[in-house]
Symmetry: none
Subunit: 226 residues, 2 copies
Amino acid sequence: MPRLLIVEDDDRIRLSLRLALEDEGYSVRDVPTAEAGLAEHRAHPADLVLVDLMLPGMDGFDCIRAMRRLGDVPIVVVSARDDTHDVVAALEAGADDYVVKPVAVKELSARLRALRRRASGSGEDAPKVRRFGEIELRPEAGEVLLGDEQVHLTRTEFRLLCELADQTGRVLSRQQLLDRVWGYDVYGDERLVDVHIGRLRRKVERDPANPAHVLTVRGLGYKLSP
Amino acid sequence: MPRLLIVEDDDRIRLSLRLALEDEGYSVRDVPTAEAGLAEHRAHPADLVLVDLMLPGMDGFDCIRAMRRLGDVPIVVVSARDDTHDVVAALEAGADDYVVKPVAVKELSARLRALRRRASGSGEDAPKVRRFGEIELRPEAGEVLLGDEQVHLTRTEFRLLCELADQTGRVLSRQQLLDRVWGYDVYGDERLVDVHIGRLRRKVERDPANPAHVLTVRGLGYKLSP
DNA sequence: CCGTCTCGTGACGGTCCCGTGACGAGCCCC
DNA sequence: GGGGCTCGTCACGGGACCGTCACGAGACGG
């Protein structure tokens, strides 16, 4: 579930954007100021950021620049001002797109999709099926094979495995996994991750007590080793 | 000089776009039909494509889809129709952006720049692995290799090594290391650092008694030599 | 050469982290 | 409504890890 961060000071617009984009399948967080947006993005990096230009305190341009320094997350400006000068300035600051309020949700959603396609894939179509030793993951089919026999994973276990697989070899903290698997808005107990990791291991590891792929990195989180 | 292909049937608009974008530093080719555009792109692949939607013969949507099949060149639609339905359809077909005529050249140019930045830049960011002789440090994976075998570090040892690595060659005092590894608010015994340095050496040094990289600077602190 | 200071290291008790089993709630399909 | 499946919470136990201390070796200055 892609994570989207909305930075917009108008409560009504923020809420309506949030609802519309949640319908589109995004896990949304929204904040009313640039400062809060930066803090939020630092704590929970988003896959996409929507930012207004006219904000109290730090303005949208500075917000864009600051986020650019943090990473290359796609940024879309949603502004009331239909002015070439603003568009150019926002894009120069590091934004990827600029749409004018009032926005058609369908168009915004299409632009977000286009941007995500461009930002993530960079062209190469993924081989869709990934192997980790004896574990074979087929996201399309929703299947997992251990050796040559299929194992049944619950939805949560499956998504957990997918998220780990998307970042193979990299450590993901419990909080990151909560964000990605359970969604932004869930402030659950981090121990919840442990339980599902355990359940996942019992299904995809030959020796769950000594996992070969779903590894614990003590004090940091979990990772999937190739 | 980035190569830009313009597919636009209106001669006057095509020419003016061409001149404007040549001024912006693009090497421009222009054609009046989708068929010619595809042929041109096949013969001389462009870095960027501008496509009109209303074209005689094959229309812009088909042109976009056909180009998408050829590669992942960034495509910008330049259309007279300001209609959400068209925007969505164009983006779904594979376009990266959609601007409405008459276009402000400055804005178009800024959008092209933003798109090129995104399209090229998404090539992997630096691998972030650092080497110090036989010691290889992979912060993302939470791993450390000595030679080609992985050594297990505890969280504290790992952070300690990372902090030293961040300031390679510079001496860090015990207090600085306490601040960075254990946090500002911890007023622990400075000797604590010694203990962990020792433990670290036993794991990442071939001869812990005569360390080659994790060095003591008597009276000052420790440093990591490259 | 000797006293003092600094650093390395082994041992040990306490703490925190993680794995796991148990349990109840919600959900869906018979 | 019952049974199976999945999920989230909790508590417990074991072990990894940490911080402290003490002792000894080596470095440095006089």
